[in-house]
Symmetry: C2
Subunit: 410 residues, 2 copies
Amino acid sequence: MPPAKRQAAAPLEPPSGWTVDAVLKNVKKLRTTMGDQAAGKQTLADVGVSGVTKEVIAMDRHLVTRAIERIAMDAALTIMRGEGFSYTMPVRTASNMLYVPELDRLVLKDKMLERVFANASAARKTAITTRVLQLVLELCGRGIHVTKRDLFYTDVKLFKQQTESDDVLDDAACMIGCTRSSLNVVASEKGIVVGRIIFEDDGDTIDCTKMGVGGKAIPPSIDRVTSIRGDAQFILLIEKDAAFMRLAEDRFYNTYPCVIMTGKGQPDVATRLFLNKVRATLNIPVLGLFDADPYGLKILSVYMKGSKNMSYDAINLTTPDIKWLGVRPSDLDKYQIPKQCRLEMTEHDIKEGKQLLTEEFIKSNPEWHKELELMVRSKVKAEIQALSSFGFQYLSKEYLPRKLKEGDWI
Amino acid sequence: MPPAKRQAAAPLEPPSGWTVDAVLKNVKKLRTTMGDQAAGKQTLADVGVSGVTKEVIAMDRHLVTRAIERIAMDAALTIMRGEGFSYTMPVRTASNMLYVPELDRLVLKDKMLERVFANASAARKTAITTRVLQLVLELCGRGIHVTKRDLFYTDVKLFKQQTESDDVLDDAACMIGCTRSSLNVVASEKGIVVGRIIFEDDGDTIDCTKMGVGGKAIPPSIDRVTSIRGDAQFILLIEKDAAFMRLAEDRFYNTYPCVIMTGKGQPDVATRLFLNKVRATLNIPVLGLFDADPYGLKILSVYMKGSKNMSYDAINLTTPDIKWLGVRPSDLDKYQIPKQCRLEMTEHDIKEGKQLLTEEFIKSNPEWHKELELMVRSKVKAEIQALSSFGFQYLSKEYLPRKLKEGDWI
């Protein structure tokens, strides 16, 4: 093997005649209009909604420990009063969910359920709840994190199926009033990040401008990510890792100060928590680069609105104000994407597209609605990679600078 | 949110009465017995096999450029001689493959095929080959890397299906005599690494002891990974990320100097290249921690033997001498894994297990064969997570130190 040398690509220059400042002018303007609408900043109290369960908050392990001890104490007291052994917790079914337009997210309403040990149908679930609370107490006491799978395996005899311990984990978070990640039970990690951001991960300083082309794996335990800082002007959120790799290798962030991240398709919880935290801490806009197809929009909506199943934790998991930078259906003509790089939508695609047209987050934004209508009408979709038909570096050298300069997001 | 504090777990201590040196004694001994059998060091010439195509080698972009220019020049000369336009390349089908026991890998034999433009059935394929060579020339000229998907999109009209450009990429590598990653076409990245290793990634120094709990994403372009160094005594190769996260959070590598990596299930090409390179550079043993089921063994075999499809690049993609540390079928009784953490094998599992018993890499190793026989006979499997039944940190505090101390690998 010949001695490996650094084979660096030429530094990225803005398109000829443009300066970096000119390209970034609209991004800076967008930032000033963001004001206090920052993601994760507005709470139910801010918009004056009442009669709903309080939203969960991130707690440190000492607060979680105290909350579990209080729950156990309450249970012990009712037993001693001769009232039997039971837990009280918020109902997490769709009937107890409320969409709050001001926050653009689902929250739990105030219906509670009692899980009574003496009730034959609830005895096992009550036992599982007790065991899960005990395990979480142990995790918090030792300050370690485990996966849901690990948790399941600590008592297979009782839990039987992983879905049972998973389900009760969400119950436990709602009972305590904390986020699921506060329970020290984490999701596996999938996302990666590079760019003008520095943070501490469990005491190690991570400088994401010095992570090579591979990027930094987004840490699974968000509570260990602290001291987020950096001079990034915006976050570029990418659907898939191919476009991420292109921008990372071109060191796009060196020329245009930004944070680049991807959840590699359907994002995991860790990536969504990280995006939310970076967005809220640096208070910079998030620009989304997704495939121009229904699937791309669906993934975008997961970042923005989250899943119903974890709606109780939406405040930490969702980033409602993402701007749709591209690739938008109208881009196909505007950027003259060659016919052969456009793909015909399948029946299933068209059905998905029509379904999306009825969803609140599309309907509430006329510009998004118009784009999606165009897609469904033209029956044509395209991937981010379609831009490669103009050359491998068209994305970083032409498309993105032009998009940014024109403030071409909706 | 309360101010985030570092919630470090207590530093990992060896089991009581043991020293770190005592735990590592067998690993050090293993290292001395490795000698020159290092993975990727032995070539066909070393073992005296002839009559086969030369194996491909890693080339820098200047060598690849020269090779492509030579291929184009040859084609031009045959055209000018009036012999028509054609390419000659090694046949990549199973009939042209040879298993070399000394190397424990598949290599291509010397059968060649001619792709003739004037031949109606090969005209399109010849055109595709020409286009792919031209695109690779462009990539090498600019020193940038793209994914297979990017490459496909540069000429959808010609390639039609991505499988067509992918397939010709492998042809191109074989024609040039270089690895596929030398073509600057990379796989997407999936693997992560932490531990006592430092390397350069595109000029950035990456210290994997300072990557927090999230670890470093394994870079997609192996040729940019240089200056691998560190005081690791062994590589701990983990099947899935749950166990990886446990060891990363416990900073297992601070107590026992090692590199910890995972491909998160079925490994991608980048992870396999990285493992091979770290293994060959540091010349330290690789110990595998996999689920005790046929699927775990199959993934282990991908690391060791690779896939038939890319057998021409086996020397860089495979790491033949991985030791099977655990979780082995015999561990279930030895470590008294509770009955309820053992899972019954399905019909499909048993069939897979029986199939594996007939494979060369199992048959050639009596100890592996014995373990697999035990699995198929007992019809019982177990995941790494089954160890959590003894406590969340049993893996890092008890199981692994004991395994290492006893030299309990096969």
